[in-house]
Amino acid sequence: MNTSALVVMLGTMLLVTGVTLYFFYRVLNTPPKPEPDSFLDNDDEIERQAPRA
């Protein structure tokens, strides 16, 4: 490949892949909000229940 094409391709692909992985990592590692939240799968997890007032 010629140099300019290689630079544009690698620059773009690395940038897009990096940002995609970064945001997905943030999603996976951000603690969920206490119940009731928007998602059904974690409804029964005791540690996530909001403390009673």
Binding site: V27, D37, D41
Partner: protein, 551 residues
């Protein structure tokens, strides 16, 4: 009281469903062709700029509008936008958010059914032993409802109905157990298949298996920047248009999905994650398959001719199945299954999203249950979609695609950006975007959403409305304005068809063109009738709300 009690199963499921909504056939068939036609590597600069100043703002606008409407129990755009301002006319702008989805689903499900059918034909070895003309002739025979290799009468109709039944059944299972489950299976498989095919695209060697070029020739062609093109408004218009198609903004599906997110939960990070996932599929995978493989076997001139005459769709369905078999019968079949399989997953995750606003509307406003609402969507799409199947050769498919899948997205996005930033108010809008956010939203976006995004959308709309001949803007300003056949005004006037008709001398061609003109106008009447019908339903829903004291 609404019958709508839907919820998402998990946050990752929501993001995959939202990314699946955005990832469609255009990521693999449209993006590489647009890049090639608009300056190769230089296209990516306006493309990424448009993503940052138009795509991301629209994602945040639509996610926050959806979540805001969801607080009031609304899951479709007519009543989501109705909650944002007291002017009751806004809800009729919101009709776009249902109409676009039904109209697009009507031809998109047909396209999706081709991919399903081609998966089976790849498995059955239909394309083995066919030359390029043979594969192309198979496609022509298929879309003209001719003889079927499987011996099934009206095979395209059968696959269309199977596809619709599958969509409808999944929709009837609900968000968590239907849509989300498909996204959780489909998206990883799509990425896996895409990575395999991209690997093949990167490793073609001239002289092996009939290849005439190394992969590098195709990659150079796609990625070598042509900076002269960077100053062309046509390139910027193409880049902005591609951002629309790829992110599925201006449709109403994002609003609907986001309306099931509670107000304390994040939307800012979710929107970024889903949006960038779509960009990964488009820029990294989409750019590494179609063009490098085609140029490897057909050369640059051959591919340019094919792209100009058949577009990405032609390249994907008429040419790639033949090229895959250059790798041998087994690998050819495997690559065919993977290619059409990934297109199928890209398609179905989008078409499912198109069903949800209509279903949400019926459940919210008329207390329909989920299953009948899903089946009503399937029935409407079947009725509206059959003309695209039966009269494909008369331009019905393209007509639906142009008005519902292109023009209406820009129109609705323009209205919603003005509503959000200027009518609802930027301060309230900013609070909606940042409320519950798991990332810090850069403050510059307050300015971008208020000024840049609406102006850019206005420019895209006006640019499409009065596109000068050949996209030569400088020439048009200098020498007088002659409209291009692709401009909205010329399309409305059927300029191109009428000129072809005036120039034709062969009676058979004249008859074909007259029929095409009839079907083009008939499709428009059908689409307008559909829009008006939904508007009437919205009016009835409004009156019902007034009667029940809900407004």
């Amino acid at each position: 009281m609404s019958a709508n009690k839907e919820s998402w199963g998990s946050r990752v499921g929501l993001i995959l469903a939202m990314a699946g909504n955005a990832v469609g056939l255009g990521n693999f068939l449209r993006f590489p062709v647009q890049a090639v036609q608009n300056g190769g590597g230089a296209f990516i600069i306006p493309y990424l700029v448009c993503f940052l100043v138009m795509g991301i703002p629209l994602l945040w606008i639509e996610w926050s509008m959806g979540r805001f409407g969801g607080k009031f129990g609304h899951h479709s755009t007519p009543f989501i936008v109705d909650t944002m301002h007291r002017n009751r006319l806004w809800k009729y702008i919101g009709v776009f958010g249902i109409w676009t989805n039904i109209a697009v689903a009507s031809y998109y499900c047909y396209l999706e059914s081709w991919t399903l059918s081609y998966v089976f034909h790849s498995l059955a070895g239909t394309f083995s032993g066919l030359d390029q003309n043979g594969v192309s002739a198979f496609f022509d025979e298929y879309v003209s409802l001719g003889d079927s290799t499987f011996g099934i009468p009206y095979e395209p109709i059968l696959f269309f109905v199977i596809c619709l039944l599958l969509n409808t059944w999944i929709l009837s299972q609900g968000l968590a157990k239907g849509v989300e489950r498909v996204a959780k299976i489909g998206m990883p498989l799509l990425i896996l298949f895409g990575m395999f095919l991209a690997y093949k695209g990167f490793t073609i060697t001239a002289g092996e298996n009939g290849a005439i070029n190394d992969s590098s020739v195709g990659l150079n062609f796609l990625w070598t920047p042509n900076f002269d093109e960077l100053w062309s408004p046509t390139v910027w218009l193409a880049a902005a248009g591609q951002i629309f198609f790829t992110l599925s903004v201006g449709m109403g599906t994002i609003h609907c999905y986001a309306s099931y997110v509670r107000s304390k939960d994040d939307i800012a990070l979710n929107a970024m994650s889903a949006g960038w996932m779509n960009e990964f599929v488009e820029v990294v995978l989409g750019a590494s398959i179609l063009i490098p493989i085609s140029i490897g076997y057909l050369g640059i001139d051959g591919v340019v001719n094919l792209v100009n005459s058949q577009g990405g769709l032609g390249l994907g369905f008429r040419t790639l199945p033949y090229l895959f078999y250059q790798w041998g019968d087994v690998l050819g079949a495997v690559a065919g299954v993977m290619w059409f399989g990934l297109l199928f997953f890209a398609g179905i995750t989008s078409s499912l999203a198109m069903g949800t606003p209509w279903m949400g509307f019926l459940q919210d406003e008329f207390n329909w249950r989920r299953r009948p609402a899903a089946w009503s969507f399937g029935l409407i799409v079947l009725l509206l979609g059959m003309p695209t199947v039966l009269f494909f050769e008369y331009g019905v498919f393209d007509e639906y695609d142009y008005w519902a899948g292109t023009v209406s997205l820009v129109v609705f996005a323009l209205f919603e950006s003005i509503l959000f930033a200027w009518v609802f108010g930027m301060n309230k809008g900013w609070r909606e975007i940042t409320s519950g956010a798991d990332i810090k939203v850069p403050g510059i976006y307050k300015f971008i959403i208020k000024f840049i995004t609406p102006l850019l959308l206005l420019w895209v709309f006006i640019g499409s409305l009065i596109t000068p001949k050949g996209g030569d803007w400088a020439g048009a300003f200098r020498n007088g304005w002659v409209l291009d056949d692709g401009s909205i005004i010329s399309k409305i006037k059927n300029t191109s068809l009428k000129r072809q008709l005036a120039e034709a001398t062969d009676p058979a061609v004249i008859e074909q063109l007259q029929d095409t003109l009839f079907f083009v106008n008939a499709s428009r009447i059908l689409l307008v009738a559909m829009f008006l019908s939904i508007a009437v339903l919205v009016y009835m829903a409004y009156k019902k709300r007034v009667r029940e004291g809900r407004i």
